[in-house]
């Protein structure tokens, strides 16, 4: 009786602590094709910078930004699909950096998904035919995490590889990125 009261209290505490955890940890290994098709329906604004995410994405609880498994999958895809060739570990190279938290097309998932799927001017190729819709969303969630100003608890830890920058679950991007004396990326951005 007494023990039950105590343990219920504690269980309630843990429940509160883990309230978001439930969804953050779920591992969905198979995305139903109709849902994938619905996720593909990204409605971009005419300037191709921002737009509304598909209703189904919101209804699912934004799994690609909050779910640890999806974010980790995104990190693997980042390596498998050679993103590092142009974007480095987020510090940029031929392509723009992600670490500085400065987004040429805005930080919304819709923009990032669209960038990956359809490509962008100045060299970003479309991955529409290389990745599935689910993979594109997973990768977009991860890419968004790289430049986040406050680390998500669901963000991936470091990789078992040479370390070039602190892991995604550590300090915010702004602290890790030294833009130097020149102003931020005047050359990046949408076509004028």
């Amino acid at each position: 009786m007494r023990r039950r009261a105590v343990s219920t209290g504690f269980a309630a505490l843990v429940l509160v602590l883990a309230a978001g955890g439930c969804q953050r940890e779920e591992r969905q290994t198979r995305l139903d094709p109709p849902i994938a098709a619905a996720l593909d329906g990204v409605a971009l604004m005419p300037d191709r910078i921002s737009g509304a995410p598909p209703a189904v994405y919101v209804a699912l609880g934004k799994p690609y930004e909050r779910n640890a498994f999806n974010l980790a999958e995104g990190k693997r895809l980042y390596g498998w699909f050679g993103c590092a060739a142009c974007h480095g570990e987020g510090e940029g190279g031929k392509g723009p950096a992600f670490l500085d938290g400065w987004w040429a097309y805005g930080p919304s998932m819709v923009s990032i998904v669209s960038s990956i799927r359809d490509g962008r001017p100045h060299g970003m190729p479309p991955f529409r035919d290389k990745m599935t819709t689910e993979q594109i969303w997973q990768l977009a969630g991860y890419v968004q995490t790289i430049g986040a100003y406050s680390a998500k608890t669901a963000a991936p830890g470091r990789s078992d590889a040479k370390q070039r920058r602190p892991a995604e679950n550590r300090a915010p991007a702004a602290l890790l990125f030294d833009p130097g004396p020149t102003p931020l990326h005047p050359d990046q951005g949408p076509e004028p």
């Binding site: 602590l17 640890a68 470091r158």
Partner: protein
């Protein structure tokens, strides 16, 4: 400094009724929730510990049945791989960290003070703290499991699979932090038992008169003290790797994945003996009582336990025979692993000799002892097999090993434990367990166990690896797997019947009296269940079997105060009385301290700063715990 309290009432100044009333008042546990949270009575805490551990056994058993359900047929889709991996991880973790080790320590928390004739365990508040930590650690693990964030990396959590790259989210962190909870709890109990056995033995109970269960717990406690820091270091490294990006296990930055295995098994192998040695102590105790003679080879048994304890730290590499370590080193570990057969053999031979020359009485506890010997010898012999490097390369990580360690852990530890529960049940509750139900559950469990686990040896030879959530229909495993799953039902039925027996006997068992088995050790000298103060007078011991040596009268010491919690501190070897020491009053602070520590530990899964801000409440509660309250117990 004041001698005021020395003027208080002494036990020889009042009559028996008054004595018992005064002691009961001094040592009481207050009724109600507050009293329950504040109690430091080792019997109440021990009982809680035992019950909680058995609840975890039941939960772990449910998981085992879920696995058997899934494995009953090939390519079954009852449980998906993600859940299955959580289930087998939870099963192993629960059984090892939340059942086997705690239950043995729990029985010791209850029995050791009684067996050595003292009134409470040393550091009783630490004891209360230990229980809460254990409970909160277990809840952390199981609540996480219920939320689909249970660990899924195996109870051994090998890196890199459990590391930051391959284990997304907090699942592995929860496992690693649960380790911290349970190890803190286990280490606390180990310290208490070592100090209790060293310093609180009844006058005259020199080391060569200490009951064998107490010896077993002493050796076990030292094993805990030396083995558990390794796994705490390892799990801390894992959390650091995952949370703040250290590189202990990252080969690309100079780390090494085998470091984890070395640290884990340096703890993990002694862990087996941490579970097994208490069982050995229980068997030695029960053999003596039911053969009605002192156990044969007391000194040999003590030395065998000590030798097991020492050898336990030289065997860990036999869990790593297929990792590609140098062959010569591996051969050394083959030799040392085989050597453990010698102390194990000595123990078996001594028990058989005791039975041979005694007059066995076939009550349920003795049945369990016999089943233990027959089953454990199989587990020990398969242990000798896996100690051989070439043999191990074929059976390592197969169902052969699953069979082996279930023979060792169930046959070697759970059978004696069930016997011990039956044996000490009258002391715990004042009532006997039913012999009829006991015999039924005995046969169901023993037969069910062997039918369930023996075929797994064969599955291992047939190439069935461990930790697979399913297997393909073209493999020749499904017949035996189905058989095993069906027999597991029998095993479970036995356990259910055992539980029914416990519940029924609690309510309407035959009243037991002080010493229903005519046993020789001190716990049977007091009433059943024992009063809060254990003994109205502290016994004085003149031999190894006090109740057989003097069946009518119990020699006792007088002169202790009645208005403070007082017990005897005695010298380590000879148990000469040194002081009338006080034992701490009830306090709710250990409970608060456990809550504060839990908040800190769980917080540190999510942010390293939790260690900083979480330390503040821990500090506050500890000050509350240790600050003198001006009770008579503070007098010196």
């Amino acid at each position: 400094m004041t001698q005021d309290h020395d003027a208080g009432t002494r036990d020889h100044q009042v009559d028996r009724t008054m004595l018992e009333a005064r002691l009961a008042k001094t040592w009481r546990t207050d009724p109600g929730l507050w009293g329950a949270l504040a109690t430091v009575d080792h019997k109440i805490i021990g009982r809680r510990y035992i019950v909680t551990a058995f609840v975890f056994l039941a939960l772990g058993g449910v998981l085992a049945m879920l696995m058997r359900l899934q494995l009953a047929g090939p390519e079954a889709r009852i449980i998906g791989p993600d859940r299955y991996n959580q289930i087998f991880t939870m099963h192993g973790t629960t059984m090892m960290f939340l059942f086997a080790v705690p239950v043995m320590e729990a029985v010791a928390v209850y029995l050791v003070p009684l067996m050595i004739g003292t009134r409470n365990i040393a550091f009783p508040r630490l004891n209360a703290f230990s229980y809460w930590m254990f409970l909160f650690g277990g809840l952390l693990l199981w609540v996480a499991f219920a939320l689909d964030m249970g660990p899924d990396v195996g109870w051994f959590a090998y890196v890199p699979l459990s590391g930051p790259q391959f284990s997304a989210g907090k699942r592995a962190d929860i496992w690693a932090q649960m380790i911290t909870f349970t190890e803190v709890a286990a280490l606390a109990v180990a310290v208490e038992i070592v100090v209790t056995v060293f310093k609180q033995r009844a006058p005259g109970m020199s080391l060569d008169r200490v009951p064998l269960f107490v010896w077993a717990m002493l050796v076990t406690s030292f094993l805990v003290i030396i083995a558990m820091p390794a796994v705490m270091v390892a799990s801390t490294m894992l959390i650091l790797d995952r949370l703040v990006g250290t590189h202990f296990f990252n080969p690309a930055e100079g780390g090494d994945v085998l470091l984890w295995q070395h640290l884990f098994w340096f703890f993990g192998h002694p862990e087996v003996y941490i579970i097994f040695l208490p069982a050995v102590g229980m068997v030695s105790t029960m053999v003596a009582t039911f053969a009605r003679r002192p156990v044969f080879g007391y000194l040999a048994l003590v030395m065998a336990m000590v030798a097991t304890g020492i050898l336990a730290f030289g065997l860990w590499v036999h869990h790593m025979f297929v990792t590609g370590l140098p062959r010569l080193g591996e051969s050394f570990f083959t030799a040392s692993s085989m050597a453990i057969a010698v102390p194990a053999g000595i123990q078996i031979f001594c028990w058989i000799a005791t039975l041979w020359s005694g007059t066995p009485r076939f009550a349920t506890p003795l049945l369990w002892v016999v089943a233990f010997i027959v089953t454990f010898v199989i587990g020990g012999l398969t242990g000798v097999m896996v100690a051989s490097v070439p043999f191990d390369t074929q059976v390592h990580d197969t169902y052969f090993v699953v069979a082996h360690f279930h023979y060792v852990l169930i046959g070697g530890a759970v059978f004696p434990l069930l016997g011990a529960v039956t044996y000490w049940f009258p002391k715990f509750t004042g009532r006997m367990m039913s012999e009829r139900l006991g015999t039924w559950s005995f046969w169901l469990i023993v037969v069910g166990f062997n039918l369930t686990f023996f075929p797994m040896h064969i599955l291992g030879f047939q190439g069935m690896p461990r930790r697979i959530y399913t297997y393909q229909p073209d493999l020749p495993w499904h017949g035996l797997n189905l058989f095993v799953s069906l027999c597991a039902v029998m095993l479970v039925a036995g356990f259910v019947l055992f539980a029914v027996n416990v519940v029924r006997s609690l309510r309407c068992g035959v009243p037991a009296g002080d010493n229903p088995w005519d046993a020789p050790t001190l716990e049977w000298a007091t009433s059943s269940p024992p009063p809060p103060y254990n003994f109205a007078h502290i016994p004085v011991v003149g031999g190894s079997n006090p109740l057989w040596e003097s069946p009518e009268k119990l020699p006792v010491a007088s002169g202790l105060c009645l208005d403070r919690r007082e017990l005897i501190v005695s010298s380590v070897v000879e148990a000469q009385p040194e002081a009338r020491e006080s034992s701490p009053q009830n306090s709710v602070w250990p409970f608060f301290a456990a809550i504060a520590t839990s908040v800190m530990l769980i917080g540190s899964i999510f942010t390293p700063w939790a260690v900083v801000w979480g330390a503040v409440p821990v500090f506050v509660t500890l000050v509350g715990w240790f600050w003198p309250k001006g009770t008579p117990e503070d007098a010196a």
